[in-house]
Subunit: 171 residues, 2 copies
Amino acid sequence: MTTMSLRIALLGLLAAKGPSSGYDLAKLFEHSLNHVWNAGHTQIYPELVKMTADGLVSVGSEGPRGRKTYTITDDGTALLRGWLADHEPSIAVRSEMALQAFLLPLLDKAAAIAVVGRIKALYVAKLAGMTCQVPAVEASPFGRHALRLGVAQAEATIAWADETLAALTAS
Amino acid sequence: MTTMSLRIALLGLLAAKGPSSGYDLAKLFEHSLNHVWNAGHTQIYPELVKMTADGLVSVGSEGPRGRKTYTITDDGTALLRGWLADHEPSIAVRSEMALQAFLLPLLDKAAAIAVVGRIKALYVAKLAGMTCQVPAVEASPFGRHALRLGVAQAEATIAWADETLAALTAS
DNA sequence: GAGCGCATGTAAGCTGTTACATGATTCT
DNA sequence: AGAATCATGTAACAGCTTACATGCGCTC
């Protein structure tokens, strides 16, 4: 029942992009993995130390500015592949947006319309951000599937917002 | 930047369903709010104590079996409405499924197909669970919008899985 | 030499999960 | 009487966020 998805994400990035520093990995979280998982450097640095102790990654000698380059080990690769192949992903939801949707009847018509309109705007912007990076992602195999998934879910959310706005304005 | 979504969820249920015990609220999380948020009794009981101290709910005298009935206060109602109307929902994603999708190219064709197939099966089951409770939910205003949102997102995920399976088998 | 980006870390606090623990009431 | 359900809690641990803190190297 171990979750350890941060570990998996870090191992995945090391496998996909090759040896990297904690700083590099933090940047990759911001730019390439942001639709999937997020983590700041304060979480990444200690985790890399633990992963080194567990033999999942190895750390090379320090470069300029104290830079440490981590490389995935065979044990790390095995753990990563095993998790990918065997792990049943959790479908537990914890979404502030869905909570707002659930409680919408507590608001009057105008306020409810405003809330759904804001949700729509948020996802329209998110979708725009994703679609404009499609060309870059299509170049490498990684991230293509995840990006299509993100786009599909954002489109579904926007369609829900439109439908809900129509129902609210009609009532 | 306070999150406090557990508080909001509890206040929302108290507003929607009326005075309830912690036990009732835990059951409601399981049955009515499960597509939206989840929380166990070990999180709910201490939070209700804190919320009582903060004046957001009030607790009546103990009933049978030590049952305590909580009621939302005016302060609680004000906080709830304010959050609903003003809170910009976080769109940060942390999805094990999306992580698996991202890292799919690390697996060989057969393993990747198996992973996507399992994801599809999971969401087909989730969708079935949601659609069969649509009639019950349609009766009361609460949860209708959230349920439609859950259904739309599940359908989008299943469509993504079909598309991805087709692309994988073709390659 | 001033400023920016690179690069690493620690500490406090909040949130959430799992395991443990207890007792009352109702149903069969 | 035994089992299931009702009903409440505590404690330990894991995961994550925010704020704090430091210093190097490059460019203008």
